[in-house]
């Protein structure tokens, strides 16, 4: 084969590869909820590798914690005992409060359902191209996870929701800071209702669709989920208003600092059952 023919063949292969990927891109524009089987396939193959690397890294970290950093264990133990004492007292008070409204059998059922409604997961990876869009967790369809389940951090603050692709042992969580995320929220003090959307670039969120004529909302006010979107249960802390700008447009421009701390996001809890359906 001559040199020119060989060059031409290579250019044709390149054109074929580029065309294949352009077709892949064009199939998704405008973007839909469902990811392609091809994308899911790659996620299925590589997410266990990521899980393995994460496990290895965690093991190395635990060696450090167990053998080198023992100094902090005593303090941690004391703090946890205090926390346990406080939580026990809180538990007794809540049980007593609950008994006023329902009988013992119903309470036992509710508490049993409540224990099964949370699934704890470790964060094993972040979004490959944008930190504020998604994270990967180490629980998947095998553990009962599906699309659109609410996810909270260890302090109970809103993290986001599960989204496709969900593999057998891993799942993707769309963060509330993603620009395609939309969560129905309201302000805690003045009950101003709107939609919380991420900007996808800086970790800030926007509280949208609050009319310019509204004068109730104040800086520093807490935003919590309203459950109007039928994905996120009501009452989860989402963020705090940091600035309010009113210009000539119909709606106010309200910046929100999410309660979620990405630097401290090692473990999350997935709400596998809507809590408001339990009571």
């Amino acid at each position: 084969m001559s040199q020119i023919q060989s060059e031409r063949r290579k250019q044709l292969v390149l054109a074929g590869l580029l065309f294949f990927q352009l077709v892949l891109i064009s199939l998704q524009v405008p973007r839909g909820e469902e990811s392609s089987y091809f994308e899911k396939g790659i996620f299925f193959i590589f997410s266990p590798v990521q899980r393995g690397i994460h496990a290895l890294f965690e093991k190395m970290g635990s060696v450090w914690t167990r053998y080198v950093d023992l100094r902090s264990v005593e303090k941690q133990n004391r703090d946890m005992k205090d926390e346990l004492f406080r939580l026990r007292q809180e538990n007794i008070q809540l049980r007593n409060g609950l008994e006023k409204f329902t009988d013992k059998q119903a309470i036992a059922r509710i508490l049993s359902d409540l224990r099964q409604s949370y699934l704890f997961a470790a964060v094993i990876g972040a979004d490959a191209s944008n930190l504020y869009k998604s994270v990967i967790i180490d629980k998947g369809s095998r553990d009962g996870l599906t699309n659109s389940m609410a996810v909270v951090d260890k302090y109970g603050n809103l993290v986001g929701r599960t989204i496709n692709p969900v593999s057998l042992g891993e799942a993707t969580v769309q963060l509330l800071t993603d620009d395609n995320s939309g969560i129905s929220v309201y302000s805690k003090d003045h009950r101003v209702v709107g939609v919380l959307a991420g900007d996808g670039k800086s970790g800030t969120c926007w509280f949208k669709y609050v009319q310019a004529t509204n004068t109730d909302l104040a800086v520093g006010e807490e935003l919590i989920t309203s459950s109007l979107d039928r994905i996120f249960p009501a009452g989860i802390r989402a963020g705090r208003v940091v600035s309010i700008v009113t210009d000539n447009s119909l709606f106010k421009k309200i910046a929100v600092r999410p309660e979620l701390d990405l630097a401290d996001l090692n473990f999350v809890a997935v709400l596998t059952q809507r809590l408001d359906t339990l009571f």
Partner: protein, 160 residues
């Protein structure tokens, strides 16, 4: 077969470093693109066809671990891998300084194509990681050229 195994090993190593760096520091992982580095190195050592296929594989892995449009990184990396192999066949990029500049240009090209495609499809600004993303070509070039030098020296010693 050996080429395929080397490419697969390259992908796995890039994936390992990408995951490790994400765990250590997010800033660190934003300023160094291991996948592009693997694509350019394979293009340099194995030619444009290997570079293009490696680019497609690495790019699609990046896309599958991102909520962005599936295929953008694949497209950018395929083009980068092909050009890395093609140009290195026409121009001598073996000397260290030339290699440094060449990998820097290739990494910049990948970033420019990715940003251009993202801006075109999303129609809005993209995440710059507080400007750290612009350091990507520089760090990729430094690490890449040092790695290439190391591989060359190792091979030379091995052949002796």
């Amino acid at each position: 077969m050996r080429d395929v195994m080397e490419a697969a090993a390259g992908i796995l190593i890039a994936f390992l470093f990408y995951t490790l760096f994400r765990k250590i520091s997010v800033s660190l992982s934003e300023s160094l693109n291991f996948f592009t580095l693997a694509v350019i190195l394979i293009g340099l050592m194995k030619g444009e066809m290997a570079g293009a296929f490696m680019g497609m594989a690495c790019g699609l892995i990046v896309d599958s671990f991102s909520l962005g449009i599936f295929g953008i990184s694949g497209l950018a990396n395929t083009l980068t891998g092909y050009l890395a192999g093609y140009i290195s066949r026409k121009v001598n990029v073996i000397p260290f300084l030339r290699n440094l500049v060449f990998i820097g240009i290739m990494a910049s090209l990948e970033l420019a194509v990715w940003m251009g495609m993202s801006a075109l499809i999303f129609g809005e600004g993209i995440h710059f990681g507080k400007g750290l993303i612009f350091l990507q070509p520089v760090f990729t070039a430094i690490v890449g050229s040092l790695l290439f030098l190391g591989i060359r020296k190792f091979r030379a010693q091995h052949e002796k």
